[in-house]
């Protein structure tokens, strides 16, 4: 049972890493700020969620697992707000340099 959990956890973390890679490729290859923000926000959110999911079976106790989920929720909040701000700044033409 624990070997199955370990395998699933490793698979989830690997999938999360793949999403992060996809997001970074999007950041480097997309032509304009809006699409880059889109790639980063979406891919990183799913990637972090998968990594947290993969780490949950290894959490020492419920409190640690809850902290992991709280970390993901906070990153979601900050990331979403940041991408909104970046997008409105890009639309205003303020993002430069």
């Amino acid at each position: 049972m624990s070997a199955l959990l370990d395998g699933l956890g490793a698979a989830a973390i690997a999938a999360g890493a793949l999403f992060f890679l996809a997001g970074t490729v999007g950041l480097l290859r997309f032509p304009d700020p809006l699409s880059r923000v889109h790639a980063l926000a979406k891919a990183d959110a799913v990637g972090l969620g998968l990594i947290v999911l993969g780490l949950l079976p290894h959490a020492a106790d419920v409190a640690t697992g809850a902290k992991l989920v709280a970390v993901w929720a906070l990153v979601q909040l900050a990331g979403t707000a940041a991408s909104q701000l970046l997008a409105s700044a890009a639309r205003r033409g303020a993002a430069s340099g």
Partner: protein, 314 residues
């Protein structure tokens, strides 16, 4: 090469790329963004070096430094082109690169020549830890064995704040830093400024409280509190306090005063400055930490706010 070493090599490579981007960027703004990334990667490196308290402090303080530098970069954007013309000649740059390579080589030689077995104070620390009533040796070092350093650092913080305030115009002395608050039109920023500070304040206080036994500390905790205030101010939700406000000044000196009080009392109830009587170490440390957190948070927030620019209202 083990997986851990591969991870460390990756982190070092990331650090070098981020530092290179910060230094070689095309504009000051891009350089500061690179510095923000460098600070976060550095926090990862600290965790790998088994220094979790330092990692928390580094992550929090480098984020605050990045905010400070970003604000300055935006304000100085217009004058950047004129300054860029003062770039040193190619010969000078080559000489500087050679100098820096020599520094790197020297440091690398020092690192490779470290004594084996390494000299360490860890056995002494482990032996004296139970007497302090704490479980976290870094907190014990900061607030018990090297408490004088922490006290003097508080004083340096206040001295730096006074120096920043002294840059104000005469007519603005005692007034408020920064422009008057204007509620932001960005709904996302307004939401973040309403949602994040309660969570940040609880987390900051928790970091200070749990530092007795787990990684944490008064410094990352108060930096987090300062950052929450900075966020609320960015959204135009709060105004900076007047620099001459007596309550603000009381909050700023409360920490050092409590520290000095406990320190001088050490002559009375123990054997020296900042010495704790047996069994009383932990309550005294908590008594110091609470006003210290308030003072440090206020000082850090005001350092980001800058010197007063609005004349005080009579």
């Amino acid at each position: 090469m083990s997986a851990g070493l591969a991870l460390d090599a990756g982190i070092v490579a990331l650090l070098l790329c981020a530092a290179g981007a910060a230094v070689a960027a095309r504009s000051a703004f891009a350089g500061v963004v690179g510095f923000l990334a460098y600070g976060l990667a550095l926090a990862l490196a600290w965790v790998r070096l088994a220094a979790v308290d330092v990692a928390l402090t580094e992550a929090a303080v480098s984020a605050l430094t990045g905010v400070l530098l970003l604000g300055a970069a935006v304000r100085l954007r217009a004058s950047e082109a004129a300054v860029a013309a003062e770039r040193p000649s190619r010969g000078l740059r080559l000489a500087a690169a050679l100098l820096c390579s020599a520094v790197a080589a020297g440091l690398a030689a020092v690192v490779l020549a470290f004594a084996d077995p390494a000299p360490s104070l860890a056995p002494d620390a482990a032996r004296r830890l139970p007497a302090t009533g704490l479980d976290n040796p870094v907190t014990a070092a900061l607030l018990s064995w090297r408490a004088v350093d922490t006290l003097l650092e508080k004083v340096v913080l206040l001295a730096g704040l006074l120096a920043v305030w002294s840059l104000a115009h005469d007519r603005a002395w005692g007034g408020r830093p920064g422009p008057p608050p204007r509620a932001t039109r960005d709904g996302a920023l307004a939401l973040l400024a309403r949602l994040l500070p309660p969570i940040g304040i609880v987390t900051g206080v928790y970091l200070v409280w749990t530092a007795a036994d787990h990684p944490g500390g008064a410094f990352p905790g108060s930096t987090l509190l300062a950052a929450m205030w900075v966020l609320a101010r960015m959204a135009g939700a709060v105004d900076a306090p007047a620099v001459g406000d007596p309550r603000l000044r009381a909050a700023l000196v409360a920490g050092p005063l409590a520290f000095f009080a406990v320190g001088f009392a050490g002559y009375a109830w123990a054997d020296g400055f900042l010495a704790y009587p047996a069994g009383w170490a932990k309550p005294l440390i908590v008594a110091i930490e609470i006003p210290m957190t308030i003072s440090v948070a206020a000082a850090l927030a005001l350092l980001v706010a800058g010197p007063p620019v609005r004349a005080p209202s009579r």
